[in-house]
């Protein structure tokens, strides 16, 4: 086993001297995702906050047809603007989020006690406009209900007879669980971090070593091939783990900087989170390293290996997709599935939910078994004669 350590130390030392690998594995890998994440979330949060507090600009076509309605809207912090000539076109071209059109016969219908129509022109597919549309709808509903209540009172009836049902919302979410939707990408970022961290080494120690023609002399040493491979896998795993660790730390710092509490959410990355996440990510990092090494060992050249390994970056998305498309009820056996177990653990931790110890252990053990199977496969490939020969 001493040879394994020698190989491990040499690979770590050599790759630490490679500026590109260090930047990719230990800087870009762990930091890129949190930074993109912060920028994204921050814009999202500030925009939501802006929208809720700012006056709602509203182009109105035919404002003169319903002066009372317009006055009521103005009171509710709506900034009435003259409507565009072609309302549909203005919305379609995204010049306006939403346009209100009041037909000429509004006043007549209202006075007769008939439903008076107003048109809200918007584009459902413009997600950005959603909150403006929602706000306007709410205001119009309020106005409509007030009008209805006044009419009932005028006829000597209680407005409550039109409300046979009283709905009371009892939201069971906590600030943490509300944020978990927002942070559901987080596990993927951690997994991706591990992936990026190990990538350079997985390729460099296999396809790269062969392409540089140093594998044949290496294998001429009196060391069984599996020991050499174990050292290489160990170095790749170490880089992957380092990346995951740095990325968790980066996120926990970044979590503090995000004004999530303003929108009633919270992101808590404490000691328990870090410990549990590292525990389940440890075998996963080894699994990704083994998978990358296996794929890279098949490749004939460095470039080919890079292509294969990059394509594999899609693999960690699979459980995320499955969980999104099929919202399965979380069950214990799912912890046994590599990637899915990690995904579930991190998600539950983020929601502030309890993660059963059995789940943690199951995830760790099953992922480790998958690692052993992959290692055995990689060793088989390493035994083949084809592997050592460059050219």
């Amino acid at each position: 086993m001493k040879a394994t350590l020698v190989v491990f130390l040499k690979e770590v030392r050599e790759n630490l001297r490679d500026r590109r690998t260090v930047i990719n594995s230990l800087i870009t890998g762990p930091l890129m995702a949190p930074i993109i994440f912060v920028i994204l979330i921050n814009t999202l949060i500030t925009r939501e906050l802006d929208k809720a507090e700012k006056p709602l600009p509203l182009p109105v076509v035919g404002a003169e047809n319903a002066p009372n309605l317009v006055a009521a809207l103005k009171q509710q912090n709506v900034e009435i603007k003259p409507g565009p000539a072609d309302a549909e076109r203005a919305v379609h071209e995204q010049d306006e989020d939403v346009v209100l059109r009041i037909p000429a016969d509004f006043e007549k219908a209202w006075d007769k006690g008939e439903p008076a129509q107003v048109e809200v022109i918007f584009d459902e597919s413009q997600r950005d406009a959603g909150s403006s549309v929602g706000r306007l709808r709410g205001l119009l509903d309020q106005y409509s209900q007030r009008g209805g209540a006044l009419r009932l009172l005028a006829r000597g009836l209680s407005p409550s007879i039109t409300k046979p049902l009283a709905i009371a919302d009892r939201d069971q979410s906590t600030p943490q669980s509300r944020s978990s939707g927002l942070f559901s990408m987080l596990p993927y970022f951690f997994i991706l971090g591990g992936f990026i961290g190990g990538m350079a080494l997985a390729i460099d120690t296999t396809a790269g070593e062969r392409e540089r023609q140093s594998l044949e002399p290496l294998l001429a040493n009196p060391v069984p091939r599996w020991q050499i491979l174990a050292g290489k896998l160990g170095a790749t795993t170490a880089f992957a783990i380092a990346t995951v660790f740095l990325s968790i730390i980066a996120f926990s710092i970044v979590g503090q900087l995000m004004p999530t509490e303003k929108i009633g959410m919270s992101l808590e990355i404490g000691v328990r989170f870090v410990a549990c996440t590292l525990f389940v990510m440890l075998p996963l990092a080894a699994l990704l390293a083994a998978l990358q090494t296996l794929v890279a060992a098949f490749a004939k050249s460095y470039r080919e290996a890079q292509t294969y390994v990059s394509l594999m970056m899609l693999v960690p998305v699979i459980p995320t997709l499955i969980l999104t498309v099929l919202p399965l009820k979380q069950q214990l056996w799912m912890y046994a599935v590599p990637l899915m177990g990690q995904q579930m653990t991190i998600n539950r931790l983020l929601r502030g939910d309890y993660v059963p110890a059995s789940g943690l252990v199951l995830s760790f053990v099953c992922t480790s078994i998958a690692v052993l199977i992959l290692c055995a496969l990689t060793v088989r490939i390493y035994r083949s004669e084809r592997l050592a020969i460059s050219a």
Binding site: K10, N15, L215, P217, L218, A220, P222, V223
Partner: protein, 244 residues
């Protein structure tokens, strides 16, 4: 001492090595001579256990390569055709890496590396990273790391490939020195003059078969040609792939 008996190796339907047998003795330089594609490299690769022969036996100092490949590799110093170095390590670190893989302690590695640096005249570049080394510097580093464990048997696959005249001469002197130290030196080449100047024994391989296994003088006598190059052409039956 290296003994190869009825070695047979195929790749799919292609027969690369066909019943090759020869012996390389201690204190002698044995040349494996043949045109390109004759099976020299494959024979050597089987010898240092990178490949498994289909049939045949390989003994290094009496140890069977098929039953104990690790011990065989321990007794061999190998300069393969591929002699890539780790470019982000210095020449000295490249050498030390192989020393550690042989299980040598740091002190032994240091003294032997120092000796090799003097012996191979590597002082100018020993502590530089190997990126950007000249072909000659590369080969010297590769030889130093191949011999770090002081092996009794030394195998070199086309050692003068890509070297200039001066470096080639230095390489010849180096091989003679290894022989003088009582080692068993086996090297492959397709260059006539080189083999003629160096070898105690020449094994000529063509199309995967041994066509002659003699001393240089006996080879000339056998073919009736005064010139070794002519003798060689006559033996392999073609001048295809012959390069001087």
């Amino acid at each position: 001492m290296i003994e190869i008996k009825q070695l047979h190796k195929t790749f799919g339907k292609v027969v690369a090595v066909d019943d090759v047998s020869f012996i390389a003795r201690d204190g002698e330089i044995t040349g494996l001579l043949g045109p390109n594609g004759a099976g020299k490299t494959t024979t050597l690769r089987c010898l240092y256990t990178l490949m498994k022969p289909v049939r045949g036996q390989i003994l290094v100092d009496g140890i069977d390569a098929s039953t104990d490949p690790v011990s065989v590799r321990r007794r061999l110093g190998v300069l393969p055709d591929a002699r890539g170095l780790y470019k982000r390590l210095t020449a000295r670190e490249n050498i030390a890496y192989f020393g550690q893989l042989h299980g040598l302690d740091d002190k032994t590695i240091r003294t032997r590396t120092d000796a090799a640096i003097v012996g191979l005249d590597m002082r100018d570049f020993a502590d530089r990273r190997t990126e950007g080394f000249s072909q000659g510097q590369r080969v010297k580093t590769a030889i130093a790391r191949a011999l770090i464990h002081d092996p009794k048997n030394v195998i070199l696959d086309e050692p003068t490939n890509g070297l200039d005249v001066m470096a080639t001469r230095a390489m010849r002197e180096f091989l003679k020195r290894l022989k003088g130290e009582g080692r068993c030196v086996l090297f492959s080449s397709h260059i006539m003059q080189e083999v003629a100047a160096l070898c105690d024994r020449i094994v000529v391989i063509a199309k995967g078969r041994v066509v002659a296994d003699e001393s240089p003088q006996a080879l000339r006598d056998q073919t009736g040609e005064a010139n070794l190059e002519d003798a060689f052409v006559k033996l392999i039956g073609t001048d295809e792939g012959l390069a001087a």
